[in-house]
């Protein structure tokens, strides 16, 4: 049995103007979404208190709410978490000085109402810690972009570097837009997912760029667009398979990994899908639009040595 006995011959570059337009529209839409709808930042960034408790059997949320209201926490957000016996309680950051005691009080209140509860998790994050994570996270993204840009400049050439970085920003924004639309919680693991995605998506771009370089040098008679089309077609099977294996493991993680890695896997699943598109229609496309040429990639010609014997 032979799968794909021949290399596909799809004219990817025919659609390059459409691709560029679609990407631009989507990018603007994602920016608008992130700015106006915003992200559903988790406690890591906003600060506040989160308590997860499990009851021996299903519990009514109203009962938990009234227990909490009795203790003075009528602003608490109470919801089921995975099962109807597990309850998640959130409180926004409080200005009072002993906010670290809030979780203790909540537990005491729930415990006196039902002594069978078990504590699963307490997260308390002071507002200053969240603010620090914002700036640290932003810096991390910036450094990752710069590091990757520098590496591609070193290995290829600036036009490729611009294309690659544009694709990274595009992918990161698409994921953020998706998270914004569905209000998926954005916590520090989600940030990690986006940083990992940046590396992964760039991986895609590099594989195509590598092939373009090889073909530009090898296939001297073809024009740039033909070479690019050939390169994309030669690597497309590999892309599809790699994405498939990555999506397989991410689906396993999404389905069985539990709540801690939920938003992590969602962000990556979306990112991996977007990366396939962007490696062709953003990074490669932009590099072509910027006018990559054979000369850009050829090793510098060795200077002729005078006075040969």
């Amino acid at each position: 049995m032979k799968f794909f006995a021949r290399v596909p011959k799809i004219d990817f570059m025919a659609q390059r103007k459409v691709g560029l337009a679609v990407s631009t529209v989507l990018t603007i839409a994602a920016i608008l979404l992130v700015v106006f709808r915003g992200l559903n930042f988790g406690i890591d960034f906003t600060g506040g208190v989160l308590v997860e408790v499990s009851y021996p059997k299903s519990v009514e949320l109203d009962k938990v709410r009234s227990d909490l209201a009795e203790a003075g926490y009528d602003r608490a957000v109470v919801q089921y978490f995975g099962a109807s016996s597990v309850v998640l309680i959130r409180l926004p950051p409080a200005k009072s000085e002993n906010s670290s005691q809030v979780s203790t009080h909540i537990l005491d209140a729930l415990h006196s109402a039902d002594s069978q509860i078990t504590l699963r998790r307490i997260d308390f994050v002071g507002p200053q810690i969240g603010e620090e994570l914002f700036s640290a996270g932003g810096l991390a993204l910036l450094f990752a972009f710069m590091g990757i840009a520098a590496y591609i400049m070193f290995r290829f050439e600036w036009k490729f570097s611009v294309g690659a970085i544009a694709a990274l920003i595009h992918d990161a924004l698409m994921v953020l837009g998706f998270l914004s639309v569905f209000q998926v919680e954005f916590d520090v693991t989600t940030l990690a997912a986006i940083l990992a995605l940046i590396g992964y998506s760039n991986n895609e771009t590099i594989v195509i760029f590598d092939r373009i370089r090889e073909n530009l040098i090898g296939e001297r008679r073809s024009g740039i667009l033909e070479v690019v089309n050939l390169s994309v077609n030669q690597t497309i099977l590999r892309s599809v398979i790699t994405h498939l294996t990555t999506l397989l493991v991410l689906t396993a993680l999404f389905t069985f990994g539990g709540s801690t890695v939920h938003s992590f896997s969602v962000a990556l699943i979306v990112g991996v899908i977007v990366a396939t598109y962007s490696s062709i229609y953003v990074s490669t496309n932009l590099a072509v639009a910027l006018g990559i040429s054979r000369e850009d990639l050829l090793p510098p010609a060795e200077k002729e040595i005078d006075g040969l014997p």
């Binding site: 006995a5 998790r121 308390f124 994050v125 990992a196 398979i241 790699t242 493991v249 069985f256």
Partner: protein, 617 residues
Amino acid sequence: MKTYASWKYLLLIAALVFGVIYAAPNLYGDDPSVQISLENGDPIPADLGDKVAASLKNANLTPIGSRIENQQWVVRLDTEEQQLRAADELKQDLGREYVVALNLASKTPGWLRAIGARPMNLGLDLRGGVHFLLEVDIDDVRKKAVDRIVTDVPALLRKEDIRYTGRHEDGNTAVLDFADSEHLEAASAAISKEFNEYQLTTLPDAPLSLQIKLSDKEAKRIVDFAVQQNLTTLRNRVNQLGVAEPLVQRQGTNRIVVQLPGVQDTTRVKDLLGATATLEYRAVADGDAETAAATGVVPAGTQLFYHRDTHQPILLKREVIAGGDNLVDASSTVDQDGGPAVSVTLDSGAAKRMFAFTEKNVGKPMAVLFKERQVVTNYNAKGEPIREHREVEDVISVASIRGVFGKRFQTTGLSSKEAHDLALLLKAGALAAPVDIVEERTVGPSLGADNIRKGFTAAALGLALVACFMIFYYRVFGLFAVSALLLNLLLLVAVLSLLQATLTMPGIAGVVLHMGIAVDANVLIYERIREELRNGSKPHSAIEAGYDRAFLTIADANVTVLIGTVVLFALGAGPVKGFAITLAIGILTSQFTAIVGSRALAQLCFAKRQLKDVPIW
């Protein structure tokens, strides 16, 4: 087909052996155990073994093992029930200078431990426990320092009879106004002589105002002092909790991380962290302390205390000569004869009292009493929490007064460790800077166990899916890729165990994601081989070309993922660091296994055979 260098096979075998050895400790499991160490961190005394054995025999317990491991005495038991009984018994018999903690001791055999093979470290999110991030209030520390300038300097000037016309505080600076420049210069000279840690300036637009502030070096030293002092206090208190592997560590300028694996009762921990300590210098009373201790009858005007280390009863007078908030500084140093000593500085009020007291009491003993106010939470029969305050009061030092002194004095005749410990305790009891909890992460044991189970299910399923797909799609070569992936996972676990890196839930997510990415190297190679075959290459040369040509692409692609992980590691927020570590190590090991490993297998299978086609599709 060229033959594959035999050193590469050897390298692979070596990697396999390394992986098996260093990953093995993770399979042995744990014994419930009791871990005993000295509270002050001294090495375990030689006779502890006998004491432990006697104590266990009393309780009718037979341990599986009882010996020193990693500078701690570890008693291994059969069941958790026995473990609890043994811990209770040992706590009672050994007394307070020992920390008795429950732990799980790995069953890893001695010869493996001897070569540094240990099981992986599980993060708090997997094993359960509490994590606190505390922040020392530096503003308060600085403010107190400025307050001290405002009280000490005028007192000095009054003593030297130098008049000033006004004083006020301006942020971090105390300002004194003078009538003329002569007074200002005289004052300036007197202050520099007495307090060399102050920085004196006069601004051009206010020539008769002396600006006094702490020198930068001194300000930094004071902050360090405050953080150090809190670290010491916290370590002592955490030791009392009896936690097996506590972590109390400074982070940045003014933060302290406290991690207590296996602890769930956060209320108790918070109370303990929030306990306040102080100390008092008091005169030792005449009278028979032993009798007082035995009869319970204490002479009038005195109180009975015990020495923290020797447990000797000591009678102290009720009057307090100097309290913790009078202590300006305490540090271990050397005396004139070069022996270890603790040097103490008091503020001016206490210095006067100390002077008056020592004048009359040369040759008599003086003691330092360490008082700690703790909040203890117990649960009543109905399971409701009850908070009780508990005062812990111990004598930590007794020394005779050698001469008359006031502001500065030294305690001598100590060993260097004693001097060090006393200085730390004095710091801990003095002027404790306020500490706030700025972050708390508590994970209950059920959630931890849940996370492990879920993480491993996801990893196992991910592996199975990838393996099925690869073998279905690439046939024998898929099998090579899967073998390489398995070796890669083995190496990953081995390296994580060897480095004692902490495995967290995001770390497991990293491993899972990595499995998807790791096979990419093989996909690249195999697609290349297929392509070469399509272009009409001979089977053997297609295989070789596939491996050779894909190499650089794989390296390029991996470097960029590595850049992401390095940045992530530098960002360094707890569990996410675990993700960065597993992903980074995974990429490095996969570079080796996916290329060298799978190629070696391909060579073994096909190098000596005539091939019409490559069984890759």
